[in-house]
């Protein structure tokens, strides 16, 4: 920090270590990051601005909650320049991060309630931070139902958790579906909203969380409404083009809300009050 500046520079990333890289799918990898000093502190639902120096910066949601272990995980789909450069990095490499930024899932408000997670593709990543939080504070929450889908078997993320770890948790059901099955797949086949309808869940004392591709979110929201979930009990996380992450650069707004400050977590009730421009 330069002596003659009174303000902490909010644009300066911290250089952190890639401690582990897990290949989830052909185009999604999970990066576990550690600070060289101190540990990460964040709330489920927040995001980071991730830097590959010389390439650029991109906002990425935190896909883990590790509490005192002090690391974070980012599950990243290879899409543009920054995410492609990230995919070339390995264990031991260093990257820059700023954050955590954004609001978070409203933990206090969902305590003792039953929870339904509806995810598609890479959209399970931000939900996973809350799922981790719940499983590490299991007694505070009611039943957990996780419905997750992807196009094919190889597109499923977090397979070990989906098939081995989460189904073992107390009062927890995991339903996995594929848009396209194959001969080896014995599970459900069909798009997420269709399966959601078939599960015939009751909305009583239940809060639903959803994230996935825009088209999946659209039909999932409709289905949840049909099932009788009130708008304030349907929660999603949004993506918008973002640069600064701190409410200055002016591009992630939807009406008078900034996704980087007021989001990325919104209830359906809040979304309905916004201009339909996202």
């Amino acid at each position: 920090m330069k002596e003659n500046n009174l303000y902490k520079n909010p644009y300066l990333p911290e250089v952190v270590l890639i401690e582990r890289v897990t290949t989830e799918t052909p185009d999604i990898k999970t990066f576990r990051l550690l600070k060289t000093e101190g540990s990460f502190e964040h709330l489920p639902g927040q995001f980071m601005e991730v830097s590959v120096f010389g390439v650029g910066e991109a906002p990425i949601s935190i896909s883990s909650y590790a509490g005192k272990a002090g690391y974070i995980e980012l599950s990243i789909k290879k899409m543009g320049m920054v995410t492609s450069a990230l995919h070339d990095l390995r264990f031991g490499d260093k990257i820059g991060v700023r954050g955590p930024y954004g609001n978070s899932f409203h933990i206090e408000w969902i305590k003792r309630k039953d929870l339904l997670f509806v995810g598609g593709g890479i959209g399970l990543a931000p939900l996973r931070s809350l799922i981790h939080y719940i499983f590490s504070n299991r007694e505070d929450f009611g039943r957990v139902t996780i419905l997750y889908g992807a196009r094919t078997f190889q597109d499923l993320v977090f397979k070990d958790e989906l098939f081995n770890q989460w189904p073992q948790k107390k009062d927890t059901q995991v339903h996995t579906t594929l848009d396209m099955g194959n001969d080896d797949w014995k599970g459900r086949v069909g798009v997420v909203p269709k399966i959601l309808k078939e599960l015939k869940l009751k909305p009583i004392n239940t809060v639903a969380f959803t994230c996935g591709p825009p088209i999946m979110i659209k039909y999932t929201l409709e289905t949840l409404e049909e099932l009788g979930f009130p708008d304030e009990d349907i929660i999603t996380t949004l993506e918008m083009k973002m640069k600064c992450g701190i409410g200055k650069c002016g591009r992630c707004n939807i009406g008078d809300k900034y996704v980087c400050l007021d989001g990325p977590v919104f209830t359906l009730k809040e979304l309905k009050d916004l201009p339909q421009e996202f």
């Binding site: 909010p10 300066l12 543009g80 640069k243 409410g247 200055k248 707004n253 400050l261 421009e277």
Partner: protein, 353 residues
């Protein structure tokens, strides 16, 4: 912000007179101690430029072509440098350490800084902008005549009277009336106090008279004070499409607006080193909100035109209780297809009746 909020209770200097024959000497004296910027003319264009000895203040300028924000939030600004080796060696850009004086800022542009302060001071504070604000002493110059495109009075600006700067100057013809508005202003005046003389009461009264006269010369672009418009209810109005049909999407309105603050952040790299910089960006460009996935929430010009006006007139007000317009008139003066924000305000005011 110290400039905007420093109370003037402890300022003891009465109004002063600066004789125009001493004006150049005043600039030279400032230059000895401070970095100095003044409105000067080159090739017929008046901009606030760094002063070097002998430069002349642009005569009879109404306002400078580029808004004052350029000096606080430059069109392109390096944020930090890095090497591409092991630990990247992030090197923050050197902040301003020397104080600087910006002379001749008009009342509308001074108001624009207080609006930018709201953005750059909120939440995580923008160190680059605030450092430049802290290190700047602003000498405002009241307008004696408005331009045809001016409508600052609709936003509470008294065009002849400087508010929110560190020092106010009023053109009395042969002299300037000098009023000190902040402690920073006081320190500058104390530094070159011998150049001023005490203002007589008649000078002061003449100054006050001139300060209130400019308002009477204003063209009547908007009938009255602009009120925050609840534009949300006009989100689906066909007026946006009509505006979009003429708009070229050139972005000049956003580049010349003193309150626009949108920017892009990007990296440049050479072989083993690079830098991260930010530069002005514009909501009028289609890639402004284009995501890597290909999804673009503001894909058509209609949505982008609507965003610009709604951000200024509605969204900004909802967040900060101020309208993000100061009535400087640059956007309507320089728009190649004559899109006029005062007409837009008028249309929705009428629809609201």
């Amino acid at each position: 912000m110290t400039t905007m909020n420093s109370n003037n209770l402890s300022i003891n200097i009465p109004p002063l007179i600066l004789k125009k024959e001493y004006f150049q000497g005043f600039l030279e004296a400032i230059k000895d101690k401070y970095e100095l910027y003044i409105p000067s003319e080159e090739d017929g264009v008046t901009l606030i430029r760094e002063y070097s000895s002998g430069d002349k203040l642009s005569e009879n300028y109404f306002n400078v072509s580029l808004p004052i924000r350029n000096l606080f939030f430059p069109q392109e600004e390096i944020l930090f440098k890095f090497s591409l080796k092991e630990n990247y060696n992030l090197e923050e850009k050197e902040m301003l350490s020397r104080e600087r004086v910006i002379f001749g800022v008009r009342p509308c542009d001074i108001l624009s800084l207080s609006l930018l302060d709201l953005v750059f001071e909120s939440e995580k504070k923008d160190s680059y902008y605030l450092n430049k604000r802290d290190k700047s002493i602003i000498i405002g110059l009241g307008c004696v005549a408005p331009q045809e495109s001016c409508f600052c009075t609709s936003f509470g600006v008294e065009p002849g009277k400087v508010i929110g700067a560190d020092i106010s100057l009023t053109d009395l013809g042969e002299n300037y009336l000098v009023e000190i508005l902040s402690l920073k202003g006081e320190s500058l005046v104390n530094y070159c106090s011998s150049i001023f003389s005490k203002a007589e009461e008649r000078d002061f009264l003449r100054g006050k008279n001139i300060q209130s006269k400019t308002r009477e010369l204003m063209p009547s672009r908007l009938e009255s004070e602009a009120k925050p418009l609840n534009l949300e209810k006009y989100f689906e109005s066909p007026e946006w499409q009509k505006l979009a049909e003429t708009c070229l999407g050139c972005g000049i309105c956003t580049y010349l607006c003193p309150t626009c603050h949108c920017f892009d952040i990007s990296d440049k790299r050479w072989l083993e080193e690079g830098q991260r910089f930010r530069c002005w960006d514009s909501c009028m460009f289609s890639d402004f909100t284009l995501m890597t996935s290909g999804h673009n929430p503001r894909i058509n010009k209609k949505e982008r035109v609507r965003q610009r006006f709604m951000h200024k007139l509605s969204y900004f007000y909802n967040r900060f209780s101020e309208i993000a317009c100061v009535g400087c008139g640059r956007c309507l003066k320089y728009c190649p297809v004559d899109i006029d924000i005062t007409r837009v305000i008028g249309v929705f005011k009428d629809e609201g009746k």
